[in-house]
């Protein structure tokens, strides 16, 4: 039998953020089996029917986020476990703090990560408040990460999980000390196959349900169609950001139909034929320019990140050696981390890194420990 951090705790009232998936359902089952009072909560964040029928959107939108099927699954799990279960509506906050910024970022030539925004503004903010308000001592989620208190530093630490292939710490760097102190990640010491076994052991019918991958509110993962449909629904015109394709030396070699169609590192769809393959190197949002170059031009040794949240330390008094991840699937690369302003840092990699993309997060690690993270400028 697997042990978790929660097993050492005396029985408590714990709210579980339930998505209807295997991970969070298993968390609820584990905590219940350990004798805690468990309350299941699902956030209603986005109405899938809103954009149905808009151009490029299916007639009946079957996205993953907040679909009735997922709520049904979560409710069934709660019934099976005999725990109270509620759906809480945070659609307004989700649109304001996640969907709108997602749209604005693309329209400004950046490549956003809505999951981190959702964690910071919804799951570990709004939902944590609701959890406390309804009398829960803590909020547990199905994220693969670990949280523990470090006596020496006097700080809560966010650490990589045992199953590094499922590591979700990249999306969790924004959690504050207060949020971490009230958060449980019971799956942090488990692998996905173990979680599925445990789900089966607890008799959960959805043990074999596939993992969700795509951005939950973008059906089929086509963000361009989503932008079109969302702006049409809002009665807003897609801003005209068509402009020039320029080389790294400033030479104009063509035109493009809008900066939101590009992301750094992209190779296809540039519409120009040259001898060697061309890549998007940079998007100059203010000038509507897309800078293209060859493979080598994609590499860069430094990045700046702002809106930095520090987790393992309270300040960066001197430069620190860390590994830095610049996208979810990035392995992390050794770098020097130094403060460059208020909530801003400069990261200097030992080796140049490919396609450092504004809008993505840079997350800093000391071994398994998340030092902190920020948004790439």
């Amino acid at each position: 039998m697997l042990t978790t951090k929660c097993q050492m705790l005396p029985p408590k009232t714990i709210a579980v953020a339930m998505s209807g998936g295997v991970d969070s359902s298993t968390v609820a089952a584990m905590l219940r089996a350990e004798g805690h009072d468990v309350v299941g909560l699902t956030m209603q964040l986005w109405n899938q029917r809103r954009l149905a029928g808009h151009e490029g959107m299916p007639e009946a939108v079957q996205g993953r986020c907040c679909s009735l099927d997922d709520v049904y699954d979560a409710r069934r799990v709660a019934e099976t476990l005999g725990i109270p279960y509620y759906v809480v509506n945070h659609e307004d906050r989700f649109e304001r703090d996640v969907v709108r910024p997602f749209v604005e970022e693309y329209l400004s030539g950046r490549t956003p990560i809505p999951c981190s925004l959702c964690n910071n503004h919804l799951k570990f903010d709004q939902l944590l408040i609701v959890a406390q308000q309804i009398g829960a001592d803590a909020l547990a989620t199905g994220h693969y990460a670990r949280v523990e208190f470090d006596e020496r530093r006097g700080r809560w630490l966010l650490k990589r999980p045992a199953d590094s292939s499922k590591d979700q710490t990249y999306f969790l760097f924004g959690l504050t000390q207060d949020q971490l102190s009230r958060t449980l990640f019971p799956l942090g010491d488990m692998t996905k196959p173990q979680v599925r076994d445990l789900a089966r052991h607890h008799g959960l019918a959805l043990a074999a349900k596939p993992d969700s991958q795509e951005i939950c509110f973008v059906p089929g993962g086509d963000y361009k169609k989503f932008l079109d449909a969302y702006l049409a629904e809002q009665g807003e015109a897609l801003p005209d950001t068509a402009g020039e394709l320029v080389t790294t030396s400033g030479e104009v070699i063509g035109e493009h139909n809008g900066i939101h169609n590009f992301t750094v590192g992209q190779r296809k769809g540039l519409g120009v034929a040259t001898g060697s393959p061309l890549y998007v190197i940079q998007i100059k949002g203010d000038r509507h320019q897309v800078v293209v170059g060859n493979q080598e031009d994609l590499y860069s040794r430094t990045l700046r990140a702002r809106r930095v949240n520090l987790v393992a330390v309270d300040d960066l008094r001197e430069p620190m050696r860390v590994r830095v991840k610049i996208r979810h699937r990035h392995e992390g690369a050794p770098a020097l981390l130094e403060k460059s302003g208020n909530n801003e840092v400069l990261v200097t990699f030992d080796e140049p890194q490919r396609a450092i993309t504004p809008g993505q997060a840079a997350v800093f690690y000391d071994g398994d420990v998340v030092v902190g993270g920020g948004w790439i400028v």
Partner: protein, 388 residues
Amino acid sequence: MRRVYLDNNATTPVLPEVLEAMRPYFAEQFGNASSIHHHGQETRAAVERARESLAALIGCRASEIVFTSGGTEGDNLAISGVTRAGDHVITSTIEHHAVLNSCKHLEAMGCEVTYVPVDGRGLVDPDDVRRALRPNTKLITIMMANNETGVLQTVEEIGKIAAEADVYFHTDAVQAAGKTPIEVKRIGCDLLSISGHKLHAPQGVGALYVGKGTILQPMFYGGSHERSRRAGTENVPGIIGLGKAAEIAREALDRGGLERMSAMRDRIEQTILSQVEATGVNGEGAPRVPNTTNIHFDYIEGEALVIALDLKGLAVSTGAACSSGAIEPSHVLTAMGLPPEIARASLRFSLGKQNTPEDVQFALDLVPRTVARLRELSPVYNRTAVSN
């Protein structure tokens, strides 16, 4: 855990007498009311007694009662039953979704609909209804009592306007039946819907009053049940239950039995308003049914309060549940001009015949301290408290 149910506008428990009256009609007196033999006659007689009981509750003839599956069917049948493409319909912004979405459907089918507003108390101004009349107006549909606030509309004045203009008048009386006297002749309505489970009959049965001379297009086609206005074998146990519940409701109204309920309701309001700061009654100043109060607790999310109270054993509600079970901001409170944050901070307490003063005391012990804890954890409340 002790559980107290103060959400009777959502549904009410079936009264023991009602259940008793229904019991023989499942397995013993099971006949089809359309059958000519003994079994059928037995059932037919019982259904007709229930019809008379309903008719007595609202002051109409038994032949003017059509049994339905509930309030939603009654509203749909009334609205779609008297309109066709090209007609104009007048309704209000605070109707139940059974009416609002029926009207939305009419718009999609080529009708025009005017949604008259309400004032801060939740009242429709009859003059607004009069001004909305057009040569092609076919129907006015304005509810009698609102489900969220309990506010009673001046349906008699609206009935006069409808009569003068010679247009049909439908009123959704789902939340009024059993809570206030209903006389269809005095209201001057042609159509009036009732739901069984809001007055201690079971879920899945209702009635629609269809005044003599009202030409109603049915929604269901089939046999000649309900004088061809609603085909389908009757829900006999449900109808018997509704008949019994109507009888009990009429006796209570005659006896002045609602005073006990309004005293309990007033006690909830007075205690909460005096013990909890930054609260108020939505719909205050308007006539209301005696069982409902809708109170705003500023600086909190009603949704979190409902969950917190449920976990302590008290069932109340806020807003309307959408398909996932999440709470949507109330269109009724928003239409009354309440800012969205106040609408979301509002809770409905609704009493039923089964509730006792002890139930009320349980709620009054629980609500103030639960609100206090929510406010302690509310970023908005703390910001406001600091700035004060």
